[in-house]
């Protein structure tokens, strides 16, 4: 699992530019599932047929895209103005090392604010070491997207930090689950979705074409285990979380119950997640076609939407056990 996370978090893939992530995952699953295809929005859809004709079609969705900064304009001094791709918080953006798809590196900087002026992304620029616009435009064009360049690293015994843990950690969980899934009564369709960070767009079209009986989103969730921030009852390292609800979906109560029952069978302690904001691919799956029951299995994560998102490998292994037990039942 650790190796998978390290591999997947190192691949470039902001919303709308998930191609490379899809290629890497396709390489991992080729020959290990019954079919692999991509759709118009770039979703990677991998199906593993179930043993039983009476089995369900279960769609699992982990999104490939990460947040980023899209270049909107190049100033004559060579600095790049940017806009957000997904939810960026200015407090996580000051003096960050960033990288573009073509390998060009830069530093994201906030210009000095005038007295009384509020911080906003419009006051940020990327310095790519160009002396003027002409030189900058040889390296980067408007429309190119930068992502945090931080590498993945270990902290403590069980934890990893990296940008794009949201949601590559869940991609790793899904790849690992699909690789080891055998003798499953249900047909499992692993969707590595696109454009979640800008409004769960990929999973919407994927769910329409996959037409599953039920859907499970795999995503990270926020923790409330910091000394001055205990608003949420989720702690890192205390086990995967089963989502009861967030701002955009209410999990199907029976699915929640069955997930907890599966967790009990494999002796994994799960946390109950109630998130007063946010949303996952479950929000778009639940409304597809005639609607379907949905739930989200969440990986607790500190500093979500920053350059150093932290997950605990024990939570990841626990999530895999619970998910596998659920799929097999």
């Amino acid at each position: 699992m650790e190796e998978l996370i390290r591999q997947l978090t190192s691949v470039y893939g902001p919303s709308g530019r998930e191609n490379k992530v899809a290629e890497v995952i396709e390489g991992m699953l080729k020959g290990k599932v019954d079919s692999i295809r991509r759709d118009a929005l770039g979703n990677l859809i991998c199906e593993k047929k179930g043993r039983l004709k009476t089995g369900k079609r279960i769609m699992l969705s982990a999104h490939m895209d990460q947040i980023g900064m899209v270049v909107t304009h190049v100033e004559k001094e060579g600095f790049l103005r940017v806009s957000n791709v997904g939810g960026l918080m200015v407090n996580n953006l000051r003096i960050r090392h960033v990288r573009f798809a073509n390998g060009v590196e830069g530093v994201l900087v906030e210009q000095p604010l005038k007295h009384g002026e509020n911080s906003s992304l419009q006051a940020f620029y990327i310095d790519i070491g160009a002396k003027d616009a002409e030189e900058a435009l040889k390296l980067v064009q408007p429309g190119d997207v930068a992502v945090f360049a931080e590498p993945c690293f270990s902290i403590g015994k069980h934890r990893l930090a990296a940008p794009a843990m949201d949601d590559r950690s869940a991609c790793a969980l899904l790849v690992s689950t699909m690789l080891d899934l055998s003798a499953c009564p249900n047909t499992v369709i692993a969707v590595f979705s696109t454009q979640e960070e800008v409004g769960c767009r990929g999973s919407q079209t994927a769910a329409f074409s996959v037409e599953p009986d039920e859907g499970i989103a795999l995503d990270v969730t926020l923790c409330g285990d910091l000394p001055e921030d205990r608003k949420l009852a989720i702690s890192l390292g205390e086990g995967p979380a089963i989502k009861i609800m967030d701002a955009r979906s209410i999990s199907n109560p029976e699915m929640v119950e069955r997930l907890f029952a599966a967790a009990k069978r494999v002796k994994v302690v799960c946390q109950r997640e109630v998130l007063p904001y946010g949303g996952t691919d479950a929000s778009s799956m639940q409304l597809s076609r005639g609607g379907m029951p949905v739930c989200t299995i969440s990986i607790p994560c500190r500093n979500v939407h920053s350059a150093c998102e932290i997950v605990d490998l024990r939570d990841m292994e626990g999530a895999k056990k619970v998910l596998t037990a659920y799929l097999r039942s």
Binding site: S15, G16, R17, N19, D39, A40, L41, V70, T72, H73, E75, K76, R81, S83, N84, V85, Q122, Q141, P142, G143, Q195, V198, R201, Q204, T205, F208, S209
Partner: protein
Amino acid sequence: MDLKTLCEAQGLSGREEAVRRLVRNECVKTLGADAVSLDGIGSVIAVRKAAKPGLPRVMLAAHMDEVGLMVVSATDDGLLRFRAIGGVDARVLVSKRVKVGYDTSEAASIPGVIGAMAIHQQTPEDRKAVLPIDQLFIDIGARDKAEAEKAAPAGTPVTFDTPYTPFGEGHVYAKALDDRAGVYNLLRLLNAPYDGELVFAFTSQEEVGCRGATAAAYRVQPDIALAMETTTANDLGDTPEAMQVCRVGGGVCVSFMDTASIGDAELYRALLAVAQKAGVPCQVKQFVAGGNDAGAMQRAGVGSRTLVLSIPCRNLHSPASVCALMDVDAQAALVRAWLATL
């Protein structure tokens, strides 16, 4: 069909009937009645069948509706209260001339003017404040409530009263350039050479949430869908370059992303390359703002690859938007050139 006729036609979101009639007639004239249909939400869909198999099904979309106002009630004095349909800036409304109701063969619309307190009565504070829409009224010269309600009952559509006016070097100002300029180009492209299936969607209700396009794209399920739109040109005064979005006269504007969709990366590259090769004036939209039918088309059903091509417009959503005819031509030319490469 000329741009003047299209801009001067009245067509609020959900009340596109006059524009629909013009568009439908034009489509039937060019493609035949069998190729043209209306859907349940008011869009006109014209289909040109494929002459050769194996080519992508392309849908070109432009929305018929315009922003405007709707009467909600009348005051005892006979003034009309109204609400905005679509994104209308309250600051641009005071003292504007409007048409209350539609011009039809049976009756003409009622002229009206949007009133507010005269400058003589304003305090210095009043002059700084923006009057919200619920403190503005339309004066149609009615004596009392009964007379006003009879002339313009609740639900009566109200459009800006602006004649289409050419000015300067190849510029025009008009109401509803958003998106009649796109509709105009879509009609000009009915004969565009392409051997694959080509669908023209004249959509309804874009300004209130891209509703027509959602239904149209669900029904058509195109492989590729292009939104032929207008977008804000913020190129006046001393706006810093990074905030200008695009420039009038700078060519058709291609979006890598807006708030409703991210342009398909391959299409984006392809269209820019085609523009360069064919010598079509073209610019990249240098700001992320706004959203349009592409967002709806991208996500309908199994999804489509989408891209937005816009004509830069100053004063978008106001009684007098400004665009350059060369940019209008560039939008049509780029689509035509791109279709030839498929």
